[in-house]
């Protein structure tokens, strides 16, 4: 008997039944076909302004920094301001980022996946989640996964329109936008704050294997005013 048959037989034996009948299997398949959300927390609801303010607050609570910007064009300058020591930056080959005026901000930009000694990487988030201040990055030609983990400092550009209330809204969007049944990219990274560890005497320190600093640039019209007035 193969390992597979052996394990399945033991499970069925323990459950006191044979393989699920057609009706039982159909019920389960339907659940997977049209997944529905369980209870969503109140923190995932609210109007746009509330969600954006909550997102910013939660990002900061997770020890990351966040700066609101009106337009994408301001991104290189904002990166240079946050990391004044940097002169080079590894940029995700995303159309939003590749075309920006990096040299004007004093940064030599190279596109592509991260290399081992990169100090600074810039990515664009697929989405973000207000309830916990989580960034959602999807691997693909325009979003190398290594950029999220190898550089010392990681900058993530988020469009205000991509900020969802709950994780479930992001799954729904991924399913909706997919052109095939396989809607997930190889890697979906939820990122909530910079790398950290408490493995030395149970005290929390930032920056172990992944980025020591995480900087979020939230881009959208009217954001600067919105995030300032709300605190």
């Amino acid at each position: 008997m193969s390992g597979r048959e052996q394990i399945l037989a033991r499970i069925r034996d323990a459950l006191g039944r044979g393989p699920l009948d057609a009706a039982g299997a159909a019920t389960l398949a339907a659940r997977l076909q049209a997944p529905s959300a369980n209870r969503l927390p109140a923190a995932s609801r609210g109007d746009r302004a509330t969600l954006l303010r909550r997102f910013a607050a939660k990002v900061r609570r997770a020890e990351a920094t966040l700066v609101p910007l009106e337009t994408l064009a301001e991104v290189p300058q904002a990166v240079a301001q946050r990391f004044p020591q940097a002169d080079a930056v590894r940029v995700a080959p995303h159309p939003d980022l590749a075309s920006l005026a990096w040299p004007a901000a004093g940064l030599a930009a190279s596109l592509g996946p991260a290399r081992a000694d990169d100090r600074l990487g810039v990515s664009r988030a697929y989405a973000a989640v207000a309830e916990s201040g989580t960034l959602v990055l999807c691997s693909g030609p325009a979003s190398p996964t290594t950029l999220n983990f190898l550089p010392d400092c990681h900058v993530v550009v988020v469009h205000a329109a991509d900020v969802a209330g709950a994780y479930e809204a992001v799954w729904a969007r991924l399913r909706e936008q997919a052109d095939s049944a396989a809607f997930l990219p190889r890697t979906v990274n939820w990122i909530t704050g910079p790398s950290r560890t408490a493995d030395i005497e149970q005290t929390l320190y930032l920056g172990i294997h992944g980025p020591r600093q995480l900087h979020v640039l939230l881009v959208g019209t009217g954001l600067v005013e919105l995030l300032e007035e709300g605190g």
Partner: protein, 471 residues
């Protein structure tokens, strides 16, 4: 790792005498409960989400065969390979074979309790492949040649000077006189040393917090980012997972993720939660070229048909360890195997058998804090009582304790005799000199650290009767 759960009493003696361990336990005692409360405070719906998390895990166990088959089919559809392994030996062979096929010499590892359970490091080393643990806590205990003492914080028992000593011993080629005292210095050195290992590895092995049947994704939850470098940089990604880890949908995974980190570190989410589906795609600029999932049974399917089945709901958050007075007194190593604390005491007898692990079921006051904090409401005290019953049926304990318990059981089922015996004992004790007895004949072990308070003279029931007559 050869289990020493059968030697639990001796392990406990050693743990209680270990000053460095006792300091570490004292340092962390208050931390976990406080962090959990802070985490829950950020989710007013916590109890409701907990109910749903519990229901999801139960639903999966009811249909485990179907969900596993669906998960495997989706992994294969995404271009991955699933290895069904009935026991630890089969899983070790599968992992070794993958590594040898890949021509691997060096393997990086993210934190995996299944890796500990099947002792994969020893097996790889015996075949000329170097496994490198990359979670800082796991790395520290690998250097020290130890097993994890906590399922979430494996190096909880190690002090800062001990970490520095381990680094000085093993990080050769660095200046001897380098400063290595502050946590920052230790972290930076670990980061630099392990960075080279990440880049050199041919195969990366991670665990899985969940397996998503809907998409064939495996999911890891980490704070360091080591699991991501482990699975992104090498050519091959191997996932070690036990069969009960499957959940139906991404929505169900999201619900469980809302209670997982909150229950232990108090975080709303850990820094990194990663969903991995198959190998890299044709146009991906990075990621592994091959993706393998090693599914381990190792006794879990047998547990599914017993009253201990609810332990299979466990999502390994570690909350029960941080709230257990017994774990807090003796730490994780005393439990003698991979899983410690209340969840370990409930699970290990099912995986290793009662002859090895029956002590663990007795290593509890049944105070119930573990059940009270469990995000998936596992009735751990009930499971421990079940194991106690099983070991009684199998003749353990024997000798005098068995006779004593038999006598007690006989008495406890006969109220009149019980009242008479307790009344007599109370009167006899009253004749003793002081307010408490320091030594009890035949129970020296018990009275070595405790006094028995002497009774007031009559039993509660007798006093109750008397007062009723007074009214």
């Amino acid at each position: 790792m050869d289990p020493t759960s059968h030697a639990f009493p001796a392990n406990v003696e050693r743990a209680l005498a270990d000053r460095s361990l006792q300091e570490a336990l004292a340092r962390t005692a208050a931390g976990f409960p406080k962090k959990r409360l802070e985490g829950i405070a950020t989710l007013p719906e916590f109890e409701l989400v907990r109910d749903q998390a519990t229901a999801i895990r139960e639903h999966v166990l009811d249909h485990l065969d179907w969900y596993l088959e669906r998960f495997a089919a989706q992994v294969e559809a995404a271009g991955g390979t699933v290895h069904w392994c009935a026991d630890a030996a089969a899983a070790r062979a599968a992992v070794l074979n993958i590594c040898q096929q890949a021509g691997a010499r060096s393997v990086t590892k993210g934190k995996s309790m299944i890796g500990e359970e099947i002792a994969i490091n020893d097996h790889l080393e015996a075949h000329g492949i170097t496994p490198v643990e990359t979670d800082l806590g796991e790395y520290i205990i690998q250097l020290r040649g130890e097993a994890p003492s906590h399922i979430v914080a494996p190096a909880l028992h190690v002090s800062r000077p001990q970490v520095a000593a381990a680094f000085r011993e093993h990080h050769l080629g660095l200046p001897r006189e380098r400063p290595l005292e502050t946590p920052r210095e230790l972290l930076d050195e670990a980061r630099a040393v392990l960075r080279d290992r990440f880049l050199a590895a041919d195969v990366g092995i991670t665990g899985a917090n969940m397996l998503v049947a809907e998409t064939g994704s495996t999911l890891i939850v980490t704070n360091e980012g080591n699991g991501d470098l482990t699975q992104t940089l090498p050519r091959v990604h191997v996932v070690l997972a036990s069969i009960e880890k499957v959940v139906p949908t991404l929505e169900d995974a999201s619900t469980l993720l809302r209670v997982l980190a909150r229950s232990i570190t108090g975080q709303e989410q850990t820094a990194y939660t990663t969903f991995s589906t198959g190998p890299r795609r044709a146009d991906d600029p990075d990621g592994p070229e091959a993706f393998h999932v090693v599914l381990l049974d190792n006794g879990r399917s047998r547990l599914l048909g017993t009253p201990a089945r609810a332990i299979l709901r466990c999502i390994r958050c570690g909350a029960c360890l941080g709230h257990c007075p017994v774990y807090g007194a003796v730490g994780g190593h005393a439990y003698g195997w991979v899983y410690s604390g209340p969840m370990g005491a409930a699970l290990t007898p099912g995986l290793l058998g009662l002859p090895e692990a029956q002590h663990l079921a007795h290593a509890s006051t049944l105070c119930g804090r573990c059940e009270a904090v469990c995000p998936v409401r596992i009735p751990i005290p009930a499971i421990l009582r079940y194991w106690r019953g099983q070991s009684w049926t199998q003749g353990w304990p024997g000798g005098l304790p068995r006779l004593g318990l038999r006598a007690w059981a006989w008495l406890a089922r006969r109220p009149r005799a019980y009242r008479r015996v307790t009344a007599l004992t109370a009167r006899l004790l009253r004749r003793g000199a002081g307010p408490a007895l320091a030594r009890l004949p035949g129970l020296a072990g018990w009275s070595a650290t405790r006094d028995l308070p002497v009774s007031e003279g009559s039993t509660f029931l007798a006093q109750w009767q008397a007062r009723r007559h007074d009214r």
